[in-house]
C-alpha cells in the first residue's frame, strides 16, 4: 500500500460507526503515571542492548600497559577475592590477555575506540562513554534481567514498560514500547533471550513490549484471516461496535466503550504497522548509510533502521536486542563478526537521528549486561583468547537528548578489572536515564504486594557527570 492510499484508508477507518466520545477519550495521547506530558530533555528512547556482554577491553577501555604483561598472571591483589563463574574458577592460572586490536583517538574530544568500531568511533563527539559501569550478577540470566528490570529475579517490569507507564504513549496507532530482536554472526550459539526482558511484570499488561517479528506478520495476529477483505472487516467492526453500544445502553459499563475504542485502534494498527515496516519508501542513501544488510528483515541493521522509523512516529521506547556477544573462546574471530553486525548501523542510527533533528529529544543507549575478564579463559595464544564474565567494570555509551556529548566518564584500573574513579551502577544509570526523561526515579512507583516498587529498587543516584 503506498503512502497516499494508506492515508485514505486511515481516514476511512476513523469514520467507523464508533462512539465519538469513547474514541476521543482513548485516542487522546495519554499522559502516564507521571501525570504530565514528558518534561525531560528526552521524550523517546532507543536501547541497543548487546546481549551476551561485549568485551570492554577489546572495544573501548584502552589499556596499553597490558601489552607488557602478556601471559603474566593476574595479580591476586587485583582480583581481590572476586567470585568467578564455575567456567573459569577451576583454572590453574589467570593469564593476562591484552587485546590484540589497535586503538586510536577519535574526534575533537579524543575518545579512544578500538579499530573494531570505526563507525562508532566516527561519532565519538556525539557520544558519552561510561567506562565505569558495574553490576552484581556473574551469569547472563540474572545479569540481563537486572539490566532490563533492575532486579536479578524474574517478575519485575522492564525498563520500557516503566517508561511507557510513566510517560504514556506518544502516538495514536502504534504500541508505545516496541522490541526488535536479531542474532549475531559472531557466535552462532547465542545466549537466548526471553519474553520477560520486555514484560510488564506487575504493571498493567498494556505496557509490555510488543515484538516486531522478523518473519510472518510484523506484529502478532496483524493480518486478517484468508479471504477477509478490509471492507468486510470494517463492516464487521461496525456491527460489533453497534451491538456493543446497545449493550452499553442497557448495562452502562464504561469498559464496553473502552473495548469499542480498542477495536478501532487495533484496526488502525493493522493499517499503520505494515507501513512502518515497509522500507520501500527509503532512498538508496539510507541503505548506504546503514549498510546493505539493512534490507534484510531480522538483521541488526534492519532493526536500527526500523527503530528510526518507529521513533519518527513517536513510539516511546524502542528496544533492540542483538545476541552473540558471549566470547568465552575464540574472542578475536567472534567479536569481529559481532562488530561487523552492529558498528555501522549503530553509528548510522545516531547520525540519522541527528540529521533529522530527532537526536535532540531521543536518547540512544548502547550496552550489555556486564563486561569481560582481562585474563584469558582457556588457552591464551598470540592471536587467540577468550574472556569470562566480569561484573566489576564495563562500558556503556549513550548519545542524544541531554547527554554530555564527546565525553568519557569514569576510569578503571590498569587491568580494566576494577573501577577506580566515578563508578556507575546499573541503578545509577537507570536513575539518570529516567531523569533525562523528566521522571524522578524515586517517584516513579507502582504498588504491588504492599510495596511501592521502583525500577531502581531502593538505590540509584543521578550521575550529574553524564548530563549536558
Amino acid at each position: 500500500m503506498n503512502q497516499h492510499t494508506r492515508r485514505q484508508f486511515l481516514g476511512q477507518g476513523s469514520r467507523l460507526g464508533i462512539g465519538a466520545m469513547a474514541l476521543e477519550s482513548l485516542l487522546r495521547r495519554e499522559t502516564g503515571a507521571a501525570g504530565t506530558p514528558p518534561s525531560g530533555k528526552a521524550r523517546r528512547v532507543i536501547y541497543l542492548c548487546q546481549s551476551g556482554a561485549p568485551s570492554q577491553i577489546d572495544l573501548f577501555d584502552y589499556k596499553p600497559s597490558l601489552e607488557k604483561r602478556y601471559n603474566q598472571d593476574l595479580p591476586d591483589s587485583v582480583r581481590d577475592g572476586q567470585r568467578l563463574t564455575t567456567m573459569s574458577s577451576g583454572q590453574e592460572r589467570f593469564p593476562i590477555a591484552p587485546g590484540i586490536f589497535k586503538f586510536k583517538r577519535h574526534g575533537q574530544s579524543g575518545q579512544t575506540v578500538s579499530e573494531l568500531l570505526p563507525h562508532i568511533a566516527s561519532i565519538s563527539d556525539q557520544v558519552c562513554y561510561i567506562k565505569s559501569m558495574h553490576t552484581e550478577a556473574i551469569n547472563h540470566d540474572p545479569a540481563i534481567t537486572f539490566l532490563q528490570t533492575g532486579a536479578e529475579q524474574a517478575g519485575r517490569p522492564s525498563f520500557g514498560s516503566w517508561v511507557s507507564y510513566g510517560l504514556g504513549s506518544g502516538n495514536d496507532d502504534l504500541p508505545s514500547f516496541v522490541v526488535l530482536l536479531s542474532r549475531g554472526s559472531g557466535r552462532p550459539n547465542c545466549q537466548p533471550l526471553y519474553d520477560r526482558l520486555w514484560g510488564s511484570g506487575f504493571l498493567p499488561s498494556k505496557h509490555q513490549g510488543v515484538k516486531f517479528l522478523s518473519s510472518g506478520d510484523p506484529v502478532l495476529y496483524l493480518k486478517n484471516p484468508p479471504g477477509v477483505s478490509d471492507k468486510t472487516r470494517e463492516r464487521n467492526l461496525e456491527a460489533i461496535a453497534n451491538l456493543n453500544h446497545l449493550h452499553h445502553e442497557s448495562y452502562g459499563d464504561a469498559e464496553t466503550l473502552t473495548r469499542i475504542a480498542q477495536y478501532e485502534l487495533a484496526h488502525r494498527m493493522q493499517a499503520s504497522v505494515p507501513g512502518v515496516a515497509d522500507l520501500s519508501d527509503e532512498p538508496e542513501s539510507t541503505f548506504k548509510r546503514y549498510g546493505p544488510r539493512a534490507r534484510i528483515r531480522g538483521t541488526y541493521a534492519y532493526n536500527c533502521l526500523l527503530a528510526r522509523r518507529l521513533i519518527e512516529r513517536d513510539v516511546r521506547f524502542v528496544q533492540l536486542f542483538h545476541m552473540g556477544w558471549d566470547q568465552h573462546n575464540a574472542l578475536p574471530k567472534q567479536i569481529r563478526g559481532q562488530c561487523a553486525d552492529t558498528d555501522q548501523p549503530s553509528a548510522a542510527l545516531v547520525k540519522d537521528l541527528s540529521e533529522r533533528g530527532l537526536l535532540d529529544d531521543t536518547l540512544v543507549i548502547w550496552g550489555g549486561e556486564f563486561g569481560r575478564t582481562v585474563y584469558s579463559q582457556g588457552a591464551l595464544t598470540e592471536d587467540n583468547y577468550g574472556r569470562d564474565h566480569h561484573p566489576r567494570c564495563f562500558t556503556i555509551w549513550m548519545a542524544g537528548a541531554g547527554v554530555k556529548a564527546g565525553h568519557c566518564h569514569g576510569v578503571t584500573d590498569d587491568f580494566s578489572y576494577n573501577v577506580v574513579k566515578d563508578p556507575v551502577h546499573i541503578h545509577d544509570l537507570n536513575a539518570t536515564i529516567l531523569h533525562l526523561l523528566g521522571m524522578e526515579h524515586e517517584k516513579l512507583t507502582f504498588r504491588y504486594q504492599g510495596r511501592d516498587f521502583r525500577l531502581t529498587d531502593v538505590h540509584g543516584k543521578i550521575v550529574k557527570g553524564l548530563l549536558a
Binding site: T86, M87, G90, Q91, E92, I138, N139, D141, A154, P188, N189, C190, Q191, P192, Y194, D195, R196, G199, S205, K206, K211, L213, S215, G216, D217, L220, Y221, L222, P225, P226, G227, K231, N236, A239, I240, L243, N244, L246, H247, S250, Y251, G252, D253, E255, T258, R259, Q262, Y263, L265, A266, H267, Q270, M323, H328, N329, A330, R447, Q449, G450, R451
Partner: protein, 1002 residues
C-alpha cells in the same frame, strides 16, 4: 514542655470539614495505613533501618518520650504530641517525613493523626494477625447470612441493590466462573425449564470441567510451567502434578488436606504415590542450567522461592521482603524469614540443574491403562525374537562360513585391544572420570563448556598398532540414558589425538557407525577445533568410530600412549558421556573382530558366537529389522507408560544447616537458625512436634490460624466476584488493603473451616447468594457511588480470564476436545516465536505445533514455556508463571482485539461455528438465532436482529460477487456446498465472538 504548633488548629478545622464527625476513627482502618505508608520506612519493624530508636508500629510508642521531652503520642492531646508537631512544623530540619522523602503527607492525613490522638489514641493490632471472630448474625428467614451482612451494609449506606439477573445470564455467569466454559444450549434449555438453581450448580461442580477451571488459578499461584525457565529453559516434566491438582479439585479434597499433601505429602506416614506427587507444588520454581552458574547461589534462590510462594498462597504475606532485612511494614524479622527457609532447605537438590526433564528429587510414576498395549507389544517382540533365533540356528552353513571368516581374521592378527587407562584427566578441573567394569569411562562432575579429556596408558606388550577405536556408550546418568550429558544427548568431538611418548601420531582416515551429515567423523581428524564428530540428539548408541593411523606404530612394553578427546567447538558441554577406547592391531580394512568375538573364539564360547552371528549376518537382515522395530515399539510403549515428576523428599541423615544470609546473599552466611514459624502469628508450634514441613502444614490449617482460611476464602471470592473482600489478595499485611467488609470475611472464614474446608460446598453457597445473582447493570448513580462494586449492590462483572476466552470459542465451534490430563500439547501459535529468542543449547528452540486433537484441548494443557509463554494467553493477562501470582489484572487492549479477530484458533472456530449452525438449520434467521443463543446464552432481541440481518445481507452480497474470497474464507472446512453462504455466516460468527458480552462475564 510544649512546642509551637502553628498549624494545628487549622487541621482541626479542616478535619471537621473532611470527615463526618460520627464514629470515632479506627486505628487499623484510618491511622495505621498512614503510619505504615509514610513512617515505617524509618520507624517500623526493620531494626536495620530504624532511625532515632523510634518505632511507630508497636504499642510501646504510647509510653515513649521524644528527646525534646514531649511524649511522642500524648493520649487525648495532639498539642502535646511530638508526632503532630513533627508532621506539621515548617522547620525543614524537624518536619516529618523529611522533605526529601518521596512521599509527603497531605493535610487530611495530618488531620486524621491529630483526631486519632484527640480521640484517645486507641491502639489496635493489625487485624489480619488477630484471630478470626465469627460475627453474631441475626438470621432473617431463609436468607443466607452472607446476604444479610452485605445487605445490611447497603442499607446503612442507603444503596438499593439491583434485582436478580435473568436466570440464563446467572447460569452463564456461574458456568464460566466454576467451569471456565459457558453452558451449551441444551443445558440452558434444561435449566430454564425447571429453574432448579441448586441442581444446576451441582451439575457444574460435578463436571470434570470444574477441576480444570480451578486448576488454572492454582497453577498460576504455584508458578507451574512445562519448562525449567532461566536461560536454557529446557522442557520439564511436571504434568503429573498438574493432573493431581485437577483431580484433587474434582474429588473435592478438603482444603486442609489439599494443603498438607502439597506442602508435606512425603512426610505423611506411608505416603501414597498421589501424596508424593502433590509435593511437586514446591518444585514448580524455576531451575537454572546456565553454564557457569554457582550451585549454592541458585539452590538458595529455590528455597527462597518456596518461602515466598508458600507465604503468599497460604498467608497472604509478602515474606520475600524479609530476605535481606527485617520486613519494613510487617513484624516479620529476617531471622524469622530464615526460620521459615529452614523448613524447605533440606532436600537433595542441586542449584545448577534443569537440563533433563526432572531434577532430583523426583519420582517415576506408572500411568494407568497402559498395560494392555505394553503386553501386546511384548508379545510381538517375543514372536519376532523367536523367529530370528530360529532362523539363526537353522543357518548352519552360513554360520560355519561366518565363523571361519572370523577365525581367519583373528589368525591374521586383526583384532582390538580394549585399553584399561591408568590416568584420566580433563583440562578443566572439577570433572570426574569413573572406570566401569567393562573398561568404559563415565564422565561426571563439573560440566564445563569446553574441555579436553586425556586418557593415558602404558603399552601392555609388544604390539603393532594400526588404528584406534572409540566407542560412545549410553548410561543411565546421561541425558535420557543417551550418550552425553548435553541437553539432547548429542556430543561433538572436535579432535581425536594420539601421542606416543609425548609425540603426536597422525591419523589418516576415520569411519563411524553413526554420524550426522554435517558432522561426520572425518572432521575429528581435520585439526580444526570448530568442526568435529556428532551423532545427533537422543541416540543411545553405541556409536563407534575407528581412526586409522597413516603409519602403524610399534609399541614396546612401557611405552606411554595418550589418547586426547578434544571438545573445543562452539557447542557447549558436548562431551561423550561414557566411552571406551581400543587399539587395533593389524589392518582394519581386512575386516575386524570385536572384543567379544575375539574372546568367544579364543574361549570357544559357541553361545556368544551364535549371538554375534545373529546380530551381524546379512542373510538375517530382514528378520533382524522386524525384531528391532518390535523392540522399538515395545520400548516406546513402556516409555509412554511412565512419567517422571519432581517432588519434595528430605535428605537422609542430619538436616542441612540453615543460616541467616546477610543481605539475603548465599555467600554471606550468618547465625545458625532452626525451623520455626513467625512469633507474631498464633498459635506457636507444639514444642514436641518435629520442626518439619508436616508440622508447618498442620500449623497453617489449624483452625486458630488467623490467616489461612481468610486468605483462601478471599481468593474464592475474588474468583467469583472479580475483587476480593481484601482487594490485595496477595498481601494481608499492613500495606495491604483492609477488608471492605471485615465481618463478612471473618464469617466466611469461620464457615469454611467449620464446613470441613469443603471447597465445593463453599463455592456453591457463594454462587447461590442474592449478591452473586444480582443483575450487573450499572446505573449512573451506582457508578458514581461505588464504581468498583465493592459493596456488591450489583452482580459481578469482569472480563473472562485468558483460558476461557480461547476455550469457549473452541466449544462454540464444536472443536473442543475434552480429554483430561496427560502431557502438555502444542496447539497452533504464530511461527518463529521460539526461534527468535532461542539459544542453540536448549531443547525448546523450535515450536512445532501438534496435529489432530491436540490442537483443540483446553488451554490448561497447552505447553507453557516460561521464556516464551503462549501469546494469546499472555495478551489476556495470564500470569507469566515465573513467580507466584494470586491476582491477575484485567486489561483491555488493541492487541487483544487482534487475537480474537485474527488468531487462526479464533477464526477457524468462527468458521466451524458457522459451518455447524448452517448445517443444523436451513432458514437464515433460524441460523442467526441459534448461533446467537449458543454464544450469548440468551435470545436475540429485535434491535440486535436488525443489525445482524443488515450485515449478513451485505456480507452475503459481497461474497456473491467475490466468490473466490468466499472459497478462501471457508477453505479450511471440507466439502462446502455453498461457500458464499458459509463465508457470510462466518462473518456473523466473527462478530458474535468479538462482542463485549462474549468476552465479559456479566
Amino acid at each position: 514542655m510544649k512546642r509551637p504548633y502553628p498549624f494545628y488548629s487549622f487541621y482541626i478545622v479542616l478535619l471537621t470539614v473532611s470527615l463526618a464527625a460520627g464514629e470515632p476513627l479506627r486505628f487499623n482502618q484510618d491511622v495505621l495505613p498512614i503510619l505504615s505508608d509514610y513512617c515505617f520506612q524509618c520507624h517500623g519493624p526493620d531494626q536495620g533501618s530504624r532511625k532515632a530508636d523510634l518505632r511507630l508500629d508497636d504499642v510501646a510508642v504510647l509510653e515513649q518520650e521524644a528527646d525534646s521531652g514531649m511524649e511522642i503520642i500524648a493520649t487525648g492531646d495532639p498539642d502535646a504530641s511530638e508526632l503532630i508537631y513533627r508532621v506539621t512544623t515548617d522547620d525543614s530540619d524537624e518536619v516529618m517525613p523529611p522533605p526529601d522523602f518521596a512521599k509527603q503527607l497531605d493535610d487530611s492525613q495530618k488531620a486524621i493523626l491529630a483526631r486519632w490522638i484527640s480521640e484517645g489514641a486507641k491502639w489496635e493490632k493489625h487485624w489480619a494477625f488477630e484471630p478470626v471472630i465469627r460475627p453474631g448474625i441475626v438470621s432473617r428467614g431463609d436468607q443466607d447470612p452472607i446476604d444479610h451482612l452485605i445487605n445490611r451494609k447497603l442499607e446503612e449506606q442507603s444503596i438499593q441493590p439491583n434485582p436478580p439477573a435473568p436466570p440464563a445470564i446467572w447460569f452463564r455467569r456461574a458456568s464460566l466462573d466454576l467451569t471456565g466454559l459457558p453452558p451449551e444450549p441444551e443445558e440452558v434449555d434444561q435449566f430454564l425449564s425447571d429453574l432448579d438453581f441448586d441442581g444446576a450448580v451441582e451439575r457444574l461442580l460435578n463436571s470434570h470441567r470444574y477441576g480444570e477451571r480451578m486448576a488454572w488459578d492454582w497453577l498460576e499461584a504455584s508458578r507451574y510451567a512445562d519448562t525449567h525457565g532461566y536461560q536454557k529453559d529446557n522442557l520439564r516434566s511436571m504434568w503429573a502434578w498438574r493432573d493431581w491438582v485437577v483431580s484433587a479439585y474434582n474429588q473435592n479434597l478438603r482444603f486442609d488436606q489439599f494443603t498438607i499433601e502439597q506442602l508435606a505429602g512425603d512426610l505423611l506416614p506411608n505416603p501414597s504415590t498421589s501424596q508424593l506427587i502433590a509435593t511437586g507444588f514446591n518444585r514448580n520454581h524455576r531451575i537454572n542450567a546456565e553454564a557457569g552458574a554457582i550451585d549454592e547461589e541458585f539452590r538458595t534462590e529455590y528455597v527462597i522461592d518456596r518461602v515466598d510462594t508458600t507465604s503468599t498462597v497460604w498467608m497472604g504475606l509478602t515474606a520475600g521482603c524479609a530476605r535481606c532485612h527485617d520486613h519494613k511494614f510487617d513484624p516479620l524479622t529476617q531471622r524469622e524469614f530464615f526460620e521459615l527457609f529452614a523448613f524447605f532447605n533440606n532436600i537433595e537438590e542441586k542449584g545448577s540443574d534443569g537440563v533433563a526433564a526432572t531434577s532430583s528429587p523426583d519420582l517415576q510414576i506408572k500411568l494407568r491403562g497402559r498395560g494392555k498395549l505394553i503386553a501386546a507389544k511384548a508379545d510381538e517382540l517375543r514372536m519376532r525374537e523367536t523367529e530370528l533365533n530360529k532362523a539363526a540356528a537353522s543357518q548352519t552353513a552360513e554360520f560355519t562360513k561366518w565363523e571361519k571368516e572370523q577365525k581367519h581374521i583373528l589368525e591374521n592378527g586383526n583384532h582390538w585391544i580394549v585399553i584399561e587407562p591408568e590416568k584420566l584427566t580433563g583440562d578443566n578441573s572439577g570433572s570426574t572420570f569413573t572406570l566401569l567394569p567393562d573398561s568404559s569411562i563415565l564422565f561426571g562432575g563439573a560440566n564445563p563448556l569446553n574441555d579436553t579429556h586425556r586418557v593415558s596408558i602404558h603399552s601392555p606388550g609388544h604390539l603393532e598398532i594400526q588404528s584406534v577405536r572409540l566407542e560412545a556408550l549410553s548410561h543411565e546418568s546421561l541425558t535420557h540414558q543417551s550418550l552425553s550429558r548435553s541437553f539432547n544427548g548429542d556430543f561433538l568431538l572436535s579432535d581425536m589425538n594420539l601421542l606416543l611418548n609425548g609425540n603426536p601420531v597422525k591419523f589418516g582416515s576415520a569411519t563411524a557407525t553413526m554420524e550426522t551429515e554435517t558432522n561426520s567423523v572425518k572432521h575429528a581428524i581435520d585439526g580444526q577445533s570448530l568442526t568435529g564428530w556428532s551423532v545427533g540428539g537422543g541416540q543411545k548408541g553405541p556409536a563407534i568410530a575407528t581412526f586409522v593411523l597413516t603409519e602403524p606404530i610399534i609399541l614396546k612394553i612401557d611405552d606411554e600412549l595418550e589418547v586426547q578427546l578434544a571438545y573445543l567447538s562452539r557447542e557447549e558441554q558436548y562431551f561423550i558421556g561414557r566411552f571406551r577406547i581400543s587399539l587395533g592391531t593389524g589392518r582394519p580394512d581386512a575386516g575386524e573382530v570385536s572384543q567379544s568375538i575375539y574372546q568367544a573364539l579364543t574361549e570357544r564360547d559357541n553361545q556368544s558366537l551364535l549371538r554375534e552371528f545373529r546380530e551381524t549376518s546379512e542373510t538375517l537382515q530382514d528378520l533382524r529389522q522386524a525384531r528391532n522395530t518390535a523392540r522399538a515399539q515395545f520400548t516406546a510403549a513402556e516409555k509412554a507408560a511412565v512419567t517422571r515428576v519432581m517432588i519434595m523428599r528430605e535428605r537422609e541423615g542430619e538436616p542441612r544447616e540453615t543460616r541467616i544470609l546477610n543481605r539475603g546473599l548465599y555467600d554471606q552466611p550468618g547465625e545458625i537458625v532452626t525451623a520455626d514459624v513467625p512469633k507474631f502469628l498464633t498459635p506457636s508450634l507444639p514444642p514436641s512436634a518435629p520442626r518439619n514441613r508436616l508440622t508447618l502444614a498442620k500449623w497453617l490449617v489449624s483452625p486458630e490460624h488467623p490467616l489461612t482460611a481468610r486468605v483462601a476464602v478471599n481468593r474464592f471470592w475474588q474468583q467469583l466476584f472479580g475483587t476480593g473482600i481484601v482487594k490485595t489478595s496477595e498481601d494481608f499485611g499492613r500495606q495491604g488493603e483492609r477488608p471492605i467488609h471485615p465481618q463478612l470475611l471473618d464469617y466466611l472464614a469461620s464457615e469454611f473451616v467449620s464446613s470441613g474446608w469443603d471447597t465445593k460446598a463453599f463455592l456453591k453457597r457463594l454462587v447461590l447468594t442474592e449478591a452473586y445473582r444480582r443483575s450487573s447493570v450499572i446505573s449512573r448513580e451506582s457508578a458514581e457511588r461505588d464504581p468498583g462494586n465493592r459493596l456488591l449492590a450489583r452482580g459481578p462483572r469482569h472480563r473472562l480470564p485468558a483460558p476461557a476466552i480461547r476455550d469457549q470459542v473452541l466449544l462454540f465451534g464444536g472443536l473442543l476436545v475434552e480429554k483430561i490430563g496427560g502431557p502438555p500439547v502444542r496447539p497452533w501459535q504464530p511461527a518463529g516465536l521460539w526461534e527468535a529468542v532461542a539459544g542453540v543449547n536448549s531443547n525448546t528452540t523450535k515450536y512445532v505445533p501438534d496435529s489432530g486433537e491436540a490442537r483443540f484441548r483446553r488451554s490448561l494443557y497447552t505447553l507453557w514455556k516460561r521464556g516464551v509463554p503462549p501469546p494469546n494467553m499472555i495478551l489476556f493477562d495470564a500470569a507469566a508463571r515465573e513467580a507466584c501470582t494470586v491476582k491477575r489484572q484485567s486489561t483491555n487492549t488493541p492487541l487483544q482485539a487482534l487475537v480474537t479477530l485474527n488468531d487462526p484458533t479464533f477464526s477457524d472456530s468462527a468458521l466451524a461455528l458457522a459451518a455447524r449452525e448452517t448445517r443444523n438449520s436451513g432458514e437464515d434467521s433460524e441460523v442467526l438465532r441459534n448461533m446467537w443463543r449458543r454464544v450469548q446464552v440468551r435470545d436475540l432481541a429485535g434491535k440486535e436482529l436488525s443489525i445482524l440481518r443488515t450485515v449478513l445481507k451485505t456480507q452475503m452480497g459481497h461474497y456473491q460477487s467475490n466468490h473466490d474470497l468466499a472459497v478462501q474464507r471457508t477453505a479450511s472446512v471440507d466439502s462446502v456446498p455453498d461457500p458464499v453462504r458459509l463465508a457470510a455466516f462466518t462473518e456473523l460468527a466473527e462478530i458474535l465472538l468479538n462482542l463485549d458480552t462474549t468476552l465479559t462475564n456479566y
